[in-house]
């Protein structure tokens, strides 16, 4: 085949046609891409509008971390209403995964008023994330009471608790961040106490009664299977447990509630004991033996029992600190209030 023949052959025509079609397509698409490409700024604006439901103007806020359980990725102040939009990644998910959420923190008068919206953006390794419905996320607006979200209150269909924990951590991280930004850091009065390893110190509170006894409203963290318990414990002036009530049981299911130590459920095991008595329940002091066996609290729900035991140890060990530190002040304050009521 000579060169001349080749230029007249079908093969040449085919190559030319195909090249032309490809070239025209490429040029057309490049032009269109230049005209229609969605820029990162636009994508961000769209994401915000989707969360907000209306278009708003934002300004970027410098990011810092105030909470070990979450990383603040991005933070914006909404110019229109002063709210904050935070992108936060919560740790502690299933299989050490994370969940990244957009959180709208409602701010007015220089203080956090609540959470307007939580939207899940992405996750790492949370295969059940689809079961966290919008309905479940809307609960955050109601769950916000005192600056921290308590994991167990969030009801989702994700049976893996980790996913839930990671979302709550993300939200709490965002709340801490905004609070710090506004200068409203609440001092954690229990932070320096003993036995706070399994206690949610920010959720726990206490009150000093008129007879000098102290009532703790303790919220524990989760430990492996069970999630947190809420326990009310009253300690009298001698450091002895006089009243003990489990107000919320963190056991996985009713089966495990049934397997808990009866004396721990109704408090008969603890009542009348001081710290030495609580410590003596386990032979080795107040730490769980690694094999979970051979102790009085080793039932089918050892971890649940242990959380309650820990709460009791926290209360009996620390009651005197409260009496020495602020017993007088707080007691006085309460009497005053009582007085006003009487008048």
């Amino acid at each position: 085949m000579t060169v001349k023949q080749f230029f007249k052959s079908t093969a040449f025509k085919c190559i030319i046609t195909l090249t032309c079609v490809l070239l025209v397509s490429g040029i057309f698409l490049t032009i269109m891409n230049g005209l229609l490409a969605v820029s990162d700024a636009e994508r961000f604006e769209r994401a915000i509008n989707k969360i907000y439901g209306k278009s708003v103007k934002t300004e970027t806020v410098a990011v810092a971390n105030y909470n070990d359980n979450a990383t603040i990725d991005e933070a914006y102040r909404v110019k229109d209403d002063g709210n904050y939009l935070i992108k936060s990644t919560g740790k502690g998910g299933y299989d050490n995964g994370t969940v990244t959420c957009w959180i709208v923190v409602n701010v007015s008068g220089g203080a956090v008023k609540g959470i307007d919206k939580v939207v899940i953006e992405s996750n790492k390794g949370q295969s059940y994330i689809d079961r966290v419905s919008d309905k479940a996320l809307n609960q955050f607006t109601e769950l916000y009471t005192d600056g921290i979200i308590y994991t167990q209150d969030l009801i989702t269909n994700a049976t893996v608790k980790g996913t839930k924990t990671a979302i709550c951590n993300a939200v709490n991280g965002a709340l801490d961040f905004v609070n710090a930004l506004l200068g409203n850091v609440t001092e954690d009065i229990y932070a320096e106490f003993d036995f706070v390893e399994y206690i949610e110190t920010k959720l726990t509170s206490h009150e000093v009664n008129e007879d000098g006894s102290i009532t703790f409203h303790i919220v524990t963290k989760g430990l492996k299977e069970p999630s947190g318990f809420k326990v009310d414990i009253t300690i009298n002036a001698d450091g002895v447990v006089t009243d003990y009530t489990v107000t919320e049981n963190g056991s996985t299911s009713n089966t495990y509630v049934g397997q808990m130590h009866a004396g721990i459920l109704d408090g008969t095991l603890f009542e009348g004991k001081d710290f030495a008595g609580i410590e003596a329940i386990l032979d080795n002091g107040i730490s769980l033996p690694s094999d979970n066996s051979g102790t009085e609290i080793s039932t089918g729900a050892t971890h649940s029992n242990y959380l309650c035991l820990y709460a009791a140890a926290f209360a009996t060990k620390n009651y005197d600190k409260l009496i020495v530190d602020d017993g007088g002040n707080e007691g006085g304050g309460e009497t005053d209030e009582g007085g006003t009521e009487n008048e």
């Binding site: 490809l22 490429g26 490409a37 299933y94 299989d95 390794g125 949370q126 295969s127």
Partner: protein
């Protein structure tokens, strides 16, 4: 190892291409009347899926992203798949006529198979839900493509077995053919739906 198991479970069972993603339905309904042809089609699709991933993933990551021409991905991918299928057909024809007899007739159909383009598009997207904490690379991409193809083959074979049995029954004219095949497929999907309850 955890990532590997997660990919295998997800690609074969929980996110099966046919029963969960509904990719590659044309061959699933068209070539599933006999088990032998269903298996042949399945293997051919698996082969093309793996080869296509092997070519498109590096091209996308190392050529198209640095050059900022990601928007041309559809043209690039479909062209690569079409050429690959042509080449594969010629090579198999030359090397092994027996294999060509068993598989060759399915190859031209594969160019317009959603499963192949689907897997290449899927793998350049966000895969973090399946990969967990591992990051995406060519190795995981090929493993995912391989097991997605095997999952496709599995469902093809199950379907062909059920349709072979269906031949023994007389169905009303309006239902015979595609409608009864789709109702059969519905049952397979329901069975596979149970796998989505696996937590990985």
């Amino acid at each position: 190892m955890g990532t590997f198991i997660a990919i295998v479970l997800s690609a074969v069972l929980t996110n099966n291409f046919i029963t969960a993603k509904t990719y590659g339905i044309c061959p699933f309904l068209g070539v599933s009347k006999k088990t032998s042809s269903a298996a042949g089609m399945g293997i051919a699709v698996t082969l093309v899926m793996v080869l296509a991933t092997l070519v498109t993933y590096p091209i996308y990551t190392y050529v198209m992203v640095p050059l900022k021409i990601e928007f041309l991905e559809i043209i690039f991918f479909i062209f690569i798949i079409a050429s690959l299928v042509q080449m594969l057909e010629k090579i198999i024809q030359k090397v092994s006529p027996t294999l060509y007899g068993a598989m060759g007739i399915y190859l031209p159909l594969i160019t317009t198979n959603c499963a192949v383009l689907g897997v290449t598009e899927l793998l350049i997207g966000d895969m973090s839900a399946i990969l967990g904490n591992a990051s995406m690379n060519i190795g995981w991409a090929v493993i995912y493509a391989l097991f997605a193809g095997l999952g496709f083959t599995l469902v093809m074979i199950i379907m062909s077995g059920m349709r072979e049995k269906l031949n023994y029954y007389k169905t009303p004219k309006a239902i015979s053919g595609f409608p009864i095949a789709m109702v059969t497929a519905c049952f397979i999907c329901m069975a596979f739906y149970v796998f989505s309850l696996i937590s990985i």
